[in-house]
Amino acid sequence: MKIDFSILINIFNRNISLFIHGIKITCLFAIVGTVGGLILGLLLGGIRALKVEKNDRGISKFFKVIGLAFTRFYIWVFRGTPMMVQAIFLYYFLKPVFHWNSFTAGLIIISINTAAYMAEIVRSGIQSIDNGQFEACRSIGLTFFQSLRYVILPQAIKNSFPSIGNQLIVNIKDSSMLNVLSVTELFFQTSSIAGSNYRYIETYLIAAIIYLLLTSLASAILNAIERKMNGGKKVKTSMEFS
C-alpha cells in the first residue's frame, strides 16, 4: 500500500514513447468513434423519429416500419451488451467478410457502439424542438428529411451538445475495452508496460492520471465550444463524467 513516486516518474520516463503512442491511439479512437457515432446516430435518430402516416404508400410504409424496427433492435442490442463482447464477436464474425485488421475493426466497432447512444440523444434532441416548427416545414412542402436536415436537427444538435460531447469523454475511457482486440491504445500499452516491470500500482496510476488529463482537456474544449455556440454567454451545464 505504498506508492513510490520516484519509481513512478522513472517508469514514465523509460516508457514515454509507449505511453505517447497509447495516448495517440486512444485519442484517435475516441474522436473517430464520437464523430462516426454521431453521423450514424443522426441517421438512426432521424429514422427513430419517423411517423407512419395514414396516406403512406405501401412501399414507403413498409420501409418506415422496417426502418423503425431495425433502429429499435440496433439500439437495444448495442446499448444492452458490453462493447468488449461486441468487439470480439464482431471482429471474428465479420473477419471473413471484410478481411479487416483489429485496428480498423476497432474504429468501426467503437463508432457503431457510440451510434446507439447518439441515436437516443438525437431522438430526444428532436423531441425537445416544439412540433410547430416541424409542422411549418411540412406546411410549405419540405419533406420529412429536409425538415430534419434544415430546421430540426441543427437545433436538436445544439440542444443536445452537452450529451453529444459527453460521448467523447465516455469514449476516451471506453476505448480501453478495445485492448481485447490488441489495439495499442493507452490501456493496452499500460498493461504491456506493467507486464514487463511488475510495478502494477505505479504503472496504472500513470495511466489513470493520463486518462484524467485527457478527459479534463476534452471537457474544457467542449465547454469552450458550447460557450461559443451560445454566443459567448456563460452556460451552466458542465460536462458530466459518466
Binding site: 395514414k54 410547430g132 411549418a136 406546411s139 410549405i140
Partner: protein, 244 residues
C-alpha cells in the same frame, strides 16, 4: 365560380373523440371564407386536414377535382400551394427571417438562391418586415413574427392561404399590424380561409362566414346573414358573447 376545395362528408377522430362529424364544404376562388365557432369545435382540425397536417378518417377533400388523399398525390407539392399561417407563428429559430423565406423556395419550388432571395425580399417588403431580414425570430415581437410567417408562406406563391387564429397569440396592440397585412392580401385577391375571433375584421373582409359547433357546420352565409341575422339558436348564443 370555380372551386378550389370540395370537402365531402369529412370526419376526423382523435381516439374516441369525434372532432369533425361530417363536414361538407366548397371553397371557391377569389373567396375569403371565415370560420367562427367556440374553442374546441374543430376549426383548427378542419384547416389542418386541408393542409394534410392531419389525415381525415373518412370523407374526401378534392383540390381542383383531385383527391388529395390519393396515394399518387404529391403531398409536398400540394402543401406548398396551400399556405398555412399558424397561431404560434412557428418560424424556424435556427435561421434568419430571410432564410425562413428562402428555404422552401429552394427545396420545394427548386428556385435558385438568387431568385429565391429576390422574391423573399419582395414579400418581406409587402409585409413591412424587410428591415428585419437578418434578424433571428427569437428577437422579434409577436406581431413581427406573424408578419414574417405570412411572408414565408407568400414566398411559396400559394394559391390559397389558411390562417388559423393568426392574431390570437398576440398582445392587443399588435393585432392591428397583422390584420392590416391580411387585409392587404385580401385586396390582392388571394383566396383565404381564416379562423378568427376578430368579428369586426371577419365582417369587413369575408365573402362568406361559417359557424361551426361540435364538429359540424351549423350555419353559413354572408357576413350580414350570419353575424347580424343568425337563424340558428347556437349561432345566436355564440355571437351574444361578441359585440358585433
Amino acid at each position: 365560380m370555380e372551386e378550389i376545395f370540395k370537402i365531402e362528408n369529412l370526419t376526423k377522430n382523435f381516439k374516441s373523440l369525434e372532432v369533425l362529424k361530417g363536414i361538407d364544404l366548397s371553397i371557391y376562388k377569389n373567396e375569403v371564407l371565415t370560420i367562427i365557432g367556440s374553442s374546441g369545435c374543430g376549426k383548427s382540425t378542419l384547416l389542418r386536414c386541408l393542409n394534410l397536417l392531419e389525415y381525415p378518417d373518412s370523407g374526401k377533400i378534392y383540390y381542383h377535382g383531385l383527391d388529395i388523399m390519393d396515394p399518387n398525390m404529391n403531398v409536398n407539392k400540394y402543401r406548398s400551394k396551400v399556405g398555412m399561417v399558424f397561431q404560434n407563428f412557428n418560424l424556424f429559430n435556427n435561421m434568419s427571417i430571410l432564410d425562413n423565406c428562402v428555404i422552401g423556395q429552394i427545396n420545394v419550388l427548386k428556385r435558385n438562391k438568387e431568385e429565391a432571395t429576390k422574391i423573399a425580399i419582395e414579400r418581406l417588403k409587402d409585409v413591412g418586415m424587410l428591415d428585419f431580414k437578418d434578424a433571428r425570430s427569437t428577437t422579434l415581437s409577436g406581431g413581427q413574427k406573424q408578419r414574417a410567417a405570412i411572408a414565408r408562406t407568400l414566398c411559396m406563391d400559394p394559391e390559397v392561404i389558411l390562417l388559423d387564429e393568426p392574431t390570437s397569440a398576440l398582445d392587443p396592440e399588435m393585432v392591428g399590424e397583422v390584420l392590416d397585412v391580411i387585409l392587404k392580401l385580401v385586396k390582392k385577391g388571394i383566396p383565404m380561409v381564416i379562423v378568427t375571433h376578430e368579428m369586426l375584421f371577419a365582417k369587413e373582409v369575408s365573402n362568406r362566414i361559417i359557424f361551426m359547433d361540435e364538429g359540424r357546420i351549423v350555419e353559413q352565409g354572408s357576413p350580414l346573414d350570419v353575424l347580424e341575422n343568425p337563424k340558428q339558436e347556437r349561432t345566436k348564443q355564440f355571437l351574444s358573447r361578441y359585440l358585433v
